[in-house]
């Protein structure tokens, strides 16, 4: 079957020979968007977190066919234009929220969704919102600080 959707603002058509392909495999395979990572394949680790219609989902547990007509955002499309970093990315870089980096794309996508919903979340809410994104390197302290910083940067940008 044929799949049409918008990926990071760009209309995409691709074929799904089986029909039951997972969105993660389509993104990483034929669409060559390898920024979205597969850490567990079962929705346990969040490394594949992307946004579908602004809602965070695990791409490993999403059928590609289900995003027909949808707006999909991945880490590659997070920054508005060119090579600039988005506020969330800048904050993660500046605050040391990144170590091995494998969880970072998914983590940062979760932060985008969180801050879209609540521009200034309290710490407990940040931690709860990131419970589905495992990180083995950082112990999360500098990640939580990066989220606070991202919230600040977004407020500055909005001004």
């Amino acid at each position: 079957m044929e799949l049409n959707f918008t990926l990071n603002g760009v209309p995409i058509s691709c074929s799904l020979p089986r029909g039951s392909e997972l969105l993660l495999d389509v993104l990483r395979g034929p669409l060559e968007q390898t920024g979205t990572k597969e850490g567990c394949g079962k929705g346990e680790c969040g490394a594949c977190t992307i946004l579908v219609e602004g809602r965070m989902v695990n791409a490993c547990l999403t059928l590609a066919a289900e995003v027909e007509g949808c707006e999909v955002t991945t880490i590659e499309g997070l920054a508005a234009g060119g090579s600039e970093l988005a506020a969330e990315q800048r904050a993660f870089v500046e605050q040391g929220g990144i170590q091995c980096g494998f969880c970072s794309p998914g983590m940062i996508m979760s932060v985008r969704a969180l801050l879209d919903r609540d521009p200034d979340p309290p710490e407990a809410e940040i931690r709860r919102a990131l419970a589905g994104n495992l990180c083995r390197c950082t112990g999360y302290s500098q990640i939580v600080e990066a989220v606070r910083r991202a919230a600040e940067l977004r407020r500055e940008e909005a001004r």
């Binding site: 567990c40 500046e94 040391g96 170590q99 980096g101 709860r128 495992l134 950082t138 112990g139 939580v144």
Partner: protein, 807 residues
Amino acid sequence: MSPYLGKARPRPDAAEKATGRAEYIHDIRRPGMLHAAIRFSEHAHARIKGIDTLKAERIRGVRAVITAQNTPEIRLGFLRDNVALKGEKVRQFRDEVAAVAAIDPDVAAEAAAAIEVEYEPLPALFDPASALDEGAPLVHERDAAGRPLETNLMPVHFRHSSGDITAARSAAAHAVSGEFSTPLIQQSCMGTAGALAEFDPRMNLTIWAKTQIPFLAQRDFNSALSQIGLAGRNTRVIVPALGGGFGTGLDTHCYEYIAILLAWRTGKPVKILYKRDQEFAYLSPRQSSTVRISQGCDAGGRLTFRDVHVTQDNGAYGSWGATYPSVMMIPATSLYRVPNIEFDCELVYTNNTYAQAMRGYGNPELTWALESNLDELAEAAGIDPLEIRRINCNEPGEVTPMGLRVTTCGLRECIEGVGERLGWKNKGGWGAGKKRGVGLASMVHVGGSGRIYRSDASGVILRLDDYGNLYVASGGVDMGQGLHSALQIMAADSVGVDPERVFITQTDTSTCPWDVGTHASRGAFTAGNALLMAAEKMRRQLFEAAIDLYPDLVEQARRSWIRANPDTPPADFDWRASVAPERFQLRNNLLSLRDTPPIPWLEIDLAKLIRAAHFRAGGGEMFTVEAFYDPPSELPDWERGQGNMSACYTYGTQGVEVEVDTDTGDVKIVAMVSVLDVGRVINPQALRGQIVGAIAQGVGYALYEQVITEKGRILNPNFTDYKIPTAVEIDFPLDLEYIETDEPAGPYGAKGIGEPGLTPTAPAIANAIFDAVGVRVRDLPITPERLLAALHARYDDHIPRRAPNAR
């Protein structure tokens, strides 16, 4: 004062990772690449009677099916007791019996499943005790050289004996003993394991490997090439972004050799990638351990003896993890001052999954027993747990019974710092219906690398290009810990360039100099030292070239300055008289003279100097230097347990306050304090990531992480049932302090800090739990269920409103 050192700076690859552009093994593709799948054993111990690959070969898209029958044998492992594909028998559930290369991963998996293997099951061993029973079946009938074996004890020996333990034991005023265990732990790298192997037309091998030891891996893979008839051919090991290491990359693995065999057989690049459940089931976890320990002290609390016996269920094969006792000996002999010490260990082959190293390398296992048991001793002696640690504190300048030469040592400050920051004296209060308690534990670890190999060295090559960019090539691996960040800062500072002009070369055996590997918290210490040596050479070469070239460059600069600023009054400073190699200084890519007036045209862009040298008439020069640093340490005599294994030692103490819910057994960490002697802070941001990250692993290790097996089969191969901390669990205040002891052997005074954060966490938590509710759990993890069982056993199903040890 350096403008970069000790200041928070984002790691050089952070932006690449934040944008999803960093390339991990998962992301690399090569033209014509095939995908591999392995058929693993379905028995813990069985003779292979036959393998039928016909069905698999007939599946469309399959390019090769290999078994031990149709490929040369490749031996591997620390004891050469493992082979890439098993022909004779399987010794664990995850043994590799056959493998497939196919056009996509699904076809490969389908074909691997279609292989038919006939087994004759053999009696299997799942615990060290029964493996050591007389008449127990042998996991290995012969050693690597073909000599018959008579026991399941591994032929590795680590022992230490000092003083007179028998006399000390009978003279001790107080003595306690206990048995403590730790489970198999999954390293849980977020990026799963994988490799991509490709032969060039001359049959040289390139392998992209998720390794921490590219150069030892090159040696291993070259040996494999010899074994398949390609002697004299070379392996190039390229290390992509790692996705976490934590010890998983200290050995070469069967799956890597299988990728090599399949690439060799098919003539195509072959990639193998573990899915998460495979990572859990087929990659070696951290060694489990049982430690029997007794310690004694005199009436004043001075430690008089320590007796330690370690049993390690090694599983079916030997990895470098079988040398855990080499590191266990460090705390056993050298944490606190103890005059009479016995240490021995037995490592036992069983039919469980074979284990490998993880962060801390035996130290957390031993420290778990030692520091828990020390609290028991304190209680027996009626001495405050903090006080007993102060009484026996290590001091700078001491030589420990193992022969470790303690240079700098901030342990006293660490213990006292934890006491202060935790409010030790005033704690012991009671929440409503919930019990609070405080505990602490200390650690010592190698801080100046740990010599377990003939060479413990690191090489660094520095190269400046025509534009003043500095390229740092190191054979060390950045697996997320921040080695490249440390190298960037040290390179910028020591050479004198802007950190943004420092580029770290991708780790690759064809472009980087030899390094023994990234383990033992050694990366920044050894590569840092090599880098400082190289930087010194680089500056010498630059300043020598500047003697001739600087005057002309200044003259040009002066002229163009005056053209642009015609009103500038002439300087009355004779700068030419100051030109001498020792007067030059290089900072932020600007070459100038020391102690001169602030004349702008005296500052010359480094790039101009380099180009002037490059294009100098009559013969130019390039600026590439190398240095090789081997730390001043000794390879210990393991059977005697003697030798100064590291150039220096890292000390630290952690304190924790917990709240125990005596109804559910839940342990809530209320606050944690870590005071660590780091020598010197290079990048506080990277340092904090290392410490907090390690503490989080320590919390998981203490409270919930465990690989659960049943008759050698792993029952929880996923994150639903193998719990690692989420952001929610690490929600307690975490107070970090660094003691800067300025280690003379360290680069800028720094010590290795990769592993210490994890080491004392579990015993600190267990000690706090004891303080809170008066029971001690001796087996990790301290799950609510275990703690509740211990509470019920102690209080006969009556949960006390006040714990008996209330202070």
